[in-house]
């Protein structure tokens, strides 16, 4: 292209002074969701965690512990599937933080921060895509569970409600990781801290065994562990005997997490 036509093209482009109306928070969120989906399009391998983990975890824990804990793997699967579903999804929420920790170091975030948009949109948009990821992971696990013999007495609606409360909790927990990802300087340290929080809270719960079998001091901790409450809620829905007390607690805890860690994340984001 010759210089002359190029400069006139640039001049013409510059003369277009259209100033659109400010993007609504929803459309900004969706644009950022679109960005995350495009990233998946270019690097589909990043779906590995949500496809492989559910399969590995479910097979591993069912056949490893089933005979010892419940006498048969079939009986154990019925008990453990909702728990492993919770464990898996809560575990993969961690990747939200790691992805963000990586992302935020890039120059594009300087641009995002100087745009006249609703600031949390960049995070909310990413978390919305993560919800889709969690949904895929849950679906994979349930499909595998059904082929192995799991049956939900709560029927389809029980499954849907169970997954819904799980996704609500996962979304709220993600804000802890976004907060940490603003504080931690490296991906490694973030991974370390996330693991330190996640391992005890997910394993020291009612995911694998009934709390009644534990020493009383441990049982006391397990009973107040939010993961326990979540597993009780999900199990309740799937077994067709909803535990509304647990559901209420999970909703309250989720709300609390968002109220605390949402603004905290945004405060740190603006100062970064």
């Amino acid at each position: 292209m010759s210089n002359l036509t190029q400069s006139s093209a640039i001049e013409k482009a510059l003369s277009n002074q259209v100033r659109p109306k400010k993007a609504s928070p929803l459309s900004a969120c969706l644009t950022f969701s679109g960005r995350m989906l495009l990233k998946i399009k270019y690097v589909p391998e990043q779906l590995f965690d949500i496809t492989a983990f559910p399969v590995i975890y479910l097979l591993m824990f069912t056949y490893l512990f089933g005979g010892a804990i419940a006498g048969s793997t079939a009986a154990y699967l019925q008990f453990v599937l909702p728990g492993i579903l919770v464990l898996t999804v809560v575990m993969i929420t961690m990747y939200t933080g790691i992805e963000l920790n990586n992302d935020i170091k890039k120059g594009i975030f300087d641009r995002f921060r100087t745009l006249p948009i609703w600031n949390p949109a960049v995070l909310v948009g990413a978390l919305l895509v993560d919800l889709v990821r969690y949904l895929i992971a849950s679906t994979i696990m349930l499909v595998l569970g059904y082929t192995l013999g799991f049956r939900a007495d709560g029927g389809f609606s029980g499954l849907v409600l169970g997954i819904a409360i799980l996704l609500l909790f996962a979304f709220s927990v993600s804000w802890i990781w976004t907060t940490l990802s603003m504080i931690m300087r490296s991906e490694k340290s973030l991974l370390g801290v996330s693991m330190m929080i996640l391992f005890p809270t997910t394993f020291v719960s009612n995911v694998f065994v009934a709390p009644e079998t534990m020493p009383s001091w441990l049982e006391a901790f397990v009973e107040v562990n939010p993961i326990t409450l979540l597993v009780r809620a999900v199990r309740g829905f799937m077994e067709g005997a909803p535990d509304y007390q647990a559901v209420m607690w999970v909703c309250l805890i989720s709300l609390g997490l968002i109220i605390i860690f949402g603004p905290l994340t945004m405060y740190l984001y603006k100062r970064k």
Binding site: V18, P20, L115
Partner: protein, 327 residues
């Protein structure tokens, strides 16, 4: 036009400060940038240029002083500022994983364009910036020059009143650099005010209407490039003789007429001298004729910004910078 006196400034800062621990990154910067001009902020690495820009673009909160951008306070009216400015950062403010087109559409959408309008605007700008053929490629596969152009294109999806360019040509080859320069000139012609930082003296010289020289977080000189050069006081006389044998004699003649020390260049034909009194220069020309010394070049130039910088800071610019400077 409410108050034309206030309105003429695109940027006005007083005593802007930012400390990182003990490091006084920006230590009382005073800037006044007129609307519709290119303003160059010149300084070596670590002088505080980027920190200043980050404060003016509301990315960093200052520790002291105040600043108004287009009449809006950068702290109290940050949102108003953001609606009117655009930033092209030192490291490309683009999503490397996305294609050029996807970047442009995304940013267009965030500015509030509908999907269709964002796409139309993206196509228009990508074509104008000669990037249309690369529109579908991921930005990480772009060359430095393409990245820079895309970055600027993204900054003007909605024409900003004020565009910040942080080292827009660092690391570019001369051709890409000239392209970026042309784009910047066109932007200003279209009415945008541009503040650019650079460590290249000739870039400031070529583009900027006014220049602030920053060192250790302070403005150490300010003015047009002509004023900065004049503040050094002297001009440089450059003489080239026809015959290298005659150079010694020419040096003698020259030294007698202008009464200052004459330096012999590395080129066996060249003589240079700092002159303070320019009336003596014309006499030197006659003296050469009288002594029958044929010369091929005789010129009196202003000092280069290099020399200005050296005089102001007492040390040369960074090696990295001088390498790239044309003269």
């Amino acid at each position: 036009m409410k108050e034309p006196k206030q309105e003429q400034w695109a940027i006005e800062t007083t005593g802007l400060k930012k400390y990182f621990g003990n490091n006084r990154a920006v230590d009382g910067v005073e800037l006044k940038v007129k609307k519709g001009t290119i303003y160059g902020v010149l300084g070596p690495n670590g002088a505080g240029k980027t920190t200043t820009i980050r404060m003016l673009t509301t990315l960093l909160k200052p520790d002291g002083g105040s600043a108004k951008v287009l009449g809006y306070d950068i702290i109290d009216d940050a949102h108003q500022v953001r609606q009117r400015i655009s930033l092209t950062g030192q490291f490309a403010s683009l999503d490397e994983d996305l294609s050029g087109m996807e970047n442009m559409v995304m940013i267009g959408r965030l500015f509030g364009f509908s999907r269709r309008d964002a796409k139309k605007r993206a196509e228009e700008l990508l074509t104008a910036f000669d990037l249309f053929d690369a529109a579908k490629r991921q930005v990480k596969n772009y060359s430095g020059g393409m990245r820079r152009r895309l970055d600027i294109a993204a900054s003007i999806i909605v024409s900003p009143e004020l565009l910040f360019l942080d080292e827009p040509t660092t690391g570019l080859d001369p051709r890409s650099r000239n392209q970026v320069w042309d784009i910047i000139r066109l932007l200003v012609k279209a009415g945008t005010t541009v503040l650019l930082t650079t460590q290249y003296l000739d870039e400031a010289d070529q583009l900027a209407d006014r220049i602030a020289v920053i060192d250790h977080g302070k403005v150490i000189a300010e003015g047009t490039s002509g004023e900065l050069k004049a503040s050094i006081g002297t001009g440089k006389l450059h003489v080239r003789v026809l015959d290298p044998e005659m150079r010694g004699q020419a040096a003698e003649v020259l030294e007698q007429t202008i009464q200052t020390e004459v330096q012999l260049g590395t080129d066996p034909l060249v003589l240079t001298a700092q002159v303070s009194d320019t009336t003596l220069v014309s006499k030197a020309l006659l003296a050469f004729e009288d002594a029958n010394i044929p010369i091929t070049d005789f010129s009196l130039g202003q000092p280069s910004l290099d020399e200005v910088f050296l005089t102001l800071t007492g040390r040369p610019t960074d090696d990295q910078a001088t390498e790239e400077v044309a003269k």
